[in-house]
Amino acid sequence: MCLAVPGKVIDIQGDDPLLRSARVSFAGVIKQVSLTCAPEAKVGDYVLVHVGLAISVVDELEAEETFNYLRQMGDLDGLEPIAGEKP
């Protein structure tokens, strides 16, 4: 139920905050999505969509930072999967 899927904003329609919406592409599948709760979303942004509502703009910098952190985590460096496991 709390599933939310990231998709890319293609274009934006409307001015009324309650009715403003965007066409959002989910790997090519296009859906109309309300922007009432994510008014800051711009064309090209990725938004998290839950039951027809954008609930957040995905923060690209934070996403990158997480990956950098994971890659640089001290205890991951040089750590190989346990022998016999598929990598």
Partner: protein
């Protein structure tokens, strides 16, 4: 798909699992709150990558599972009224009430329609002005903004024939109820990422401190979940109990102020009876008096009854982390997705459905 594929990277998954194995020196029990996380864990076999000392138990974060049988009976009652169209998320249709489910009501001639969004139900109301359209508004904090918006959109469109049958539930009071129970064995939480996208992280600090339990805000893909477990085990091993955000790409500290404002405008906090778990004070949302015209419980006279459904179903113990699905004698025998005794076997977020779908050969 961006922001999905890279979080399923097998190499990173195995390295994170190895890091957790290195870190864990004692047995720990961690609960993932959200049923979406449960399904990812069981589907991708993430629990099998962990050392035997780490036990994952599955939380109550499945709105379909905790919606009381009484409310399903009321939805069925509405569906059998000739002037009513009941709109619902698809998951709710096969959940048994005290007598029948919504799918049976549909088979008996009730007008029951599956919608993707509550906003679609408002459109159906606009297209059917001679009918009453009721949306079965279940969900946690994540879904509350969309359900609140359906009321605001109906008001804006003058769709006076639209109302919602509300069964909203809130996560933090349930976490307190789980940690405070005499038979609790949960020592740390993976908090539900999208609930925090809406509400922020502020509610969790007092819980972490009061119950000495680390709480990690966690996403839904394999890398997200293992990162959450890694941070949780690290805190447990170091004797810390703090709130950490492992889902910063989608969760800001203050949550989503626009969404919170809409929820606050339409709903107010109320006590809620959780199926299988019981009454939890201040753990639900109901429609504010100002919007009573859109509250199905105000518009119709509905029958009140028992909240729990089948007495054989042990969903309450499963959702508090005390038991696992295969501990239930009915699992896979008298209780299957086609003929469920309880909601966790039908919901796409139910723990029993996850074990039945992905683990049935193992038991």
């Amino acid at each position: 798909m961006k922001y999905v594929d890279e979080y399923r990277d097998a190499d990173l998954v195995h390295k994170l699992a190895a890091a957790i194995r290195r870190l864990a020196t004692r047995p720990w029990t961690i609960m993932e709150i959200c049923g979406g996380q449960t399904h990812a864990i069981v589907k991708f076999g993430l629990d099998e990558l962990l050392p035997e000392t780490i036990t994952l138990v599955h939380g109550p974060g499945c709105p379909v599972c905790v919606t009381s049988a009484e409310l399903i009976d009321q939805a069925v009652e509405l569906a059998m009224m000739s002037e009513v169209i009941v709109c619902s998320f698809g998951d709710m249709l096969r959940v048994p009430g005290n007598t029948v489910d919504l799918l049976t009501a549909k088979a008996r001639g009730g007008d029951v329609r599956i919608v993707y969004s509550p906003l679609d139900a408002v459109t159906i109301a606009q297209e059917n002005p001679a009918k009453q359209v009721v949306f079965f508004a279940v969900g946690f904090e994540t879904t509350a903004p969309a359900n609140a918006m359906s009321v605001l959109r109906a008001e804006h469109a003058g769709a006076g024939n639209f109302s919602i049958l509300t069964s909203h539930v809130l996560v933090p009071p349930a976490m307190r109820a789980i940690l405070g129970a005499a038979d609790n064995r949960v020592q740390g939480f993976l908090a539900a990422g999208h609930v925090c996208t809406i509400m922020g992280t502020g509610e969790y600090g007092p819980i972490a401190r009061e119950f000495d339990a680390p709480i990690i805000i966690t996403g839904f893909e394999p890398v997200d979940i293992l990162e959450g477990i890694h941070l949780c085990v690290k805190q447990l091993e170091e004797g810390r109990a703090e709130v950490e955000n492992a889902y910063a790409r989608a969760v800001r500290g203050e949550g989503n102020p626009h969404a919170r404002r809409i929820v606050e405008q339409v709903f107010e906090v109320t006590d809620r009876d959780w199926r299988g778990i019981g009454m939890i004070p201040d753990s639900g949302l109901s429609v504010r008096p100002a919007y009573a015209a859109y509250d199905a419980n105000q518009r119709f006279t509905l029958t009140h009854g028992d909240s729990n459904g089948s007495s054989e179903c042990i969903s309450g113990e499963i959702m508090r982390g005390v038991k696992k699905p295969h501990d239930c004698p009915a699992f896979g025998i008298r209780c299957q997705p086609e003929h469920p005794l309880g909601a966790p076997m039908v919901s796409s977020e139910g723990a029993c459905a996850a074990y039945y779908r992905y683990r049935s050969r193992a038991y």
